[in-house]
Symmetry: C2
Subunit: 369 residues, 2 copies
């Protein structure tokens, strides 16, 4: 467990580095804007972005029906912290993981995805033994080409198997298009989600035509949620990253009239070496930030650029004539990708107007199982 | 804190996925081979690779003089676990971090680097107040162009400042060439280290000519250590990754007669979806492996390839006519880069001949401060 990097009341310059920091004013505006923009539908934010029960409860307090997560251990962390409705947006097929899931279902509403028949029987059997029930959604492939089924026959077969089994309740379709979230042009995102919504509509119609109910089509992420919202097909939206944003989401060109979310998440680093006027080195590298979506950006300071990372070093280039960096000077970095960056930290330092207001545990950090 | 993914005596197929696993036979051969190959010099393995006190103690039991690490919190984790000699191969300039360092120096031999004058005074002052002493090394830039000084005058000035101050002991030069570790051709690595050793020799001579001792030149990594060993300049070697190896080190072309280290570290994942005969999806993505040095490789199984990662999914491509993957089937992945992958896990499952022999805590996971 990491040392707590700050105390309530500390000034931000006293936070020990590197630290994961959220700007509360921006964060709260993000929560509020998404709540308002989605209030005609069910909002079930994805908690894989923040892994933090304090944030999940803020979202639920502002109207979210519950949260999503990806792993049974994440679900356990949130249920243990008092969240009462969790959808695991993933196929869970390992017997021990299924065992944990049905244990959680005795304390909370727990949903899970299937894209094959065999796990339906396993989920049903485990839920019956635990004298509980699971909500089950059929994952459909709406263009991401990852998990999920796509043929009408396969979807109807799965819906039928779930509907016919005891211990599992067929709730609807999971229709998430991950690959569309980072299409840079709004038109490309709109077109991808139009296709996704068309597939979801058609498959729901097949289920209904087969004599079953299909109450919920759920999906969407922070890059596309307004298109799913306006599709007339989706009942529930799952954006997660909007609470924080990151350098990669900032590269998406917004659509006209898009709700604006603010960068609220930062890694605060400190300069530990200034080998020349053109270079400084900070204490945050590959173990302090995730680099899968590119290098971090520098917040609130001109003339420096993060150009290279090694395990525990970040090399900054200082442009000519920029003011030089001093030893131990703080540098606020915008992570390239918020989700895996958050997963590196046990604590999230919540600041407002330059002062530490709270330090939140990231309960589901490392919850891989 | 993550759930412990296995119990002693479990068969490897019962380890909960994803899990970080070390093959003990291979690991022990790696430890032994490095100990033998470096027995004419001081071996101080870098513990930033494994962050695990059990492994540090194995290395020390087999002759290592102590360990290296990168952060004061790493040093604290190892000292708390009983390691008595730790070199922090980094500039520590923040007052509170220096405070922790001198506290540790009351319980263990603690070394640290400097590449500027101001921290020398801070380290000396803090050590005197704590009534202890720190070993201090001047970091020289031998080609990595990261931290460190390179001019003879600057090195002599720093050595003099350390030698003249109370509370700090000038121990020598830190001469690590990180950028040379992954040069693919052995000739390129040899040439880079020849240059590095030449710089270190010249700067040591400057210090000695100025009337000071310069006892230790320390450096080297798993990609180049035999060149530093054979240079006649280096007194102490710091390889770390050799205990585990990874996909990126495997891309280095070995030099003739190189000591061979075996891939001992794996992330064991499980199949959670088989959407088609050509594709399977495992439960290990960006939060289970570090992708900064490329995608993981598949161990011990032909016909499948890890082609794409998202946060919690890894997409495998199955070549035509390969045997298909089954739900919940285990897949052993070789991480692209071992160090930041280890940093994602709280536990390392130690296996031998298909059985879990032990589960080791990764005490310094997340130790960023």
């Amino acid at each position: 467990m990491q040392r707590i990097p700050a105390r309530i009341g500390d000034r931000v310059d006293d936070i020990e580095t590197p630290a994961l920091v959220v700007d509360l004013d921006r964060f709260e505006r993000n929560i509020e804007r998404m709540a308002q923009a989605t209030n005609a539908l069910r909002l079930r934010p994805h908690a894989k972005s923040h892994k933090c029960a304090t944030i999940a409860k803020s979202q639920i307090a502002r109207g979210a029906v519950g949260i999503c997560c990806q792993k049974t251990d994440e679900a356990a962390a949130f249920v243990d912290a008092g969240v009462r409705d969790v959808l695991v947006t993933n196929e869970i097929v390992a017997p021990r993981k299924i065992g944990r899931l049905v244990d959680l279902a005795r304390r909370a509403t727990i949903g899970v995805l299937v894209d094959a028949l065999q796990p339906v029987a396993m989920l049903a059997h485990a839920a019956q033994r635990a004298e509980t029930a699971l909500d089950v959604y059929v994952e459909i492939d709406v263009g991401a080409r990852r998990c999920g089924v796509s043929s009408g026959d396969a979807v109807v077969d799965l819906a039928r198997a779930i509907s016919d089994a005891r211990g599992v309740r067929f709730r609807g379709l999971h229709a998430y298009h991950g690959a569309a979230q980072h299409l840079r042009e709004p038109q490309a995102r709109a077109e991808a989600i139009a296709v996704a919504a068309g597939i979801a509509r058609r498959l729901r119609e097949r289920i209904v035509a087969s004599g079953m109910r299909c109450d919920i089509v759920t999906g969407a992420g922070s890059g596309t949620w307004r298109f799913e919202r306006d599709s007339g097909v989706y009942d529930e939206l799952q954006p997660g990253s909007y609470v924080f944003m990151d350098a990669d989401y900032a590269r998406n060109v917004p659509a006209e009239g898009d709700v604006r979310f603010e960068q609220s998440l930062f890694v605060v680093a400190a300069v530990m070496s200034v080998p020349s006027g053109e270079q400084a080195v900070v204490d945050a590298g590959l173990k302090a930030l995730s680099f899968d979506s590119g290098l971090p950006q520098i917040a609130a300071r001109d003339g420096i650029e993060y150009v290279k990372a090694s395990d525990e070093h970040g090399v900054l280039r200082v442009v000519p004539h920029a003011s030089p960096l001093a030893l131990d000077e703080r540098v606020w970095l915008v992570p390239g990708h918020c989700d895996p960056t958050v997963n590196l930290y046990d604590w999230l330092v919540a600041v407002r107007k330059g002062v530490v207001e709270d330090v939140w545990p990231i309960e589901a950090r490392g919850a891989l199982g």
